[in-house]
Symmetry: C2
Subunit: 108 residues, 2 copies
Amino acid sequence: MDTFQAVADPVRRWIVERLAAGGEATAGDLAQLTRTEFGISQPATSKHLKVLREAGLVTSTVSAQRRIYRLDPRPLADIADWATRQHQYWNTKLDALTQHLSTLKEKP
Amino acid sequence: MDTFQAVADPVRRWIVERLAAGGEATAGDLAQLTRTEFGISQPATSKHLKVLREAGLVTSTVSAQRRIYRLDPRPLADIADWATRQHQYWNTKLDALTQHLSTLKEKP
DNA sequence: CACATATTTCACTTTACAGTTATATGATCT
DNA sequence: AGATCATATAACTGTAAAGTGAAATATGTG
């Protein structure tokens, strides 16, 4: 699954936001939080974490029985880049159009 | 369907890119192009366009029997903002950590 | 070693979505 | 009006993803 699909799911997007805000969290923390936030079970969250892991959005390190999850900022940068590129490219065209229209208004 | 889910699909992302590059296109143009690019039928593309419309990513205007599709840059800006926000927030934390580690290295 | 804790994986069900063909809608042309 | 073109919708199918409870795996503790 690619990066876009990974963050398409609201639960996973919420997890990403949580990790960005808190820095890191154990799988148990996240399972607890998503339970209260979305009412889903612990295995459900575990599977979401797997998807995020395979998409490269998060990394996990083992600490005894706990798995500590952290965000990898690079894939997010890719998304931001893509969106900004499409956004800006088209915006310049839009600006050109607006300007063209206003010159038409001056000299009708 | 929300903006993220709309651009999660590769066909729709391709359509967005095409509109950003070309400025505008008719439904027929896009149906033709996605046909050669992905091998899907005209109704399939029509449904993708519907999703993009309902997500607010594109607008369509009627010109005789044709529907002309254009990109609305605002939702893309939202995506870029979101991704940049998560990315940067965590990056500052990462920088702080890196700096912390290097000071530890100096004075062990 | 037995037991508790943390997390993942398995087997299964339900739901959502992309795709298809066929049909409907609406505008243009002769 | 009838034919045709452009696009959308309907009805249906196959597949994938998200959810669940139960079991497996691995680590720490009395």
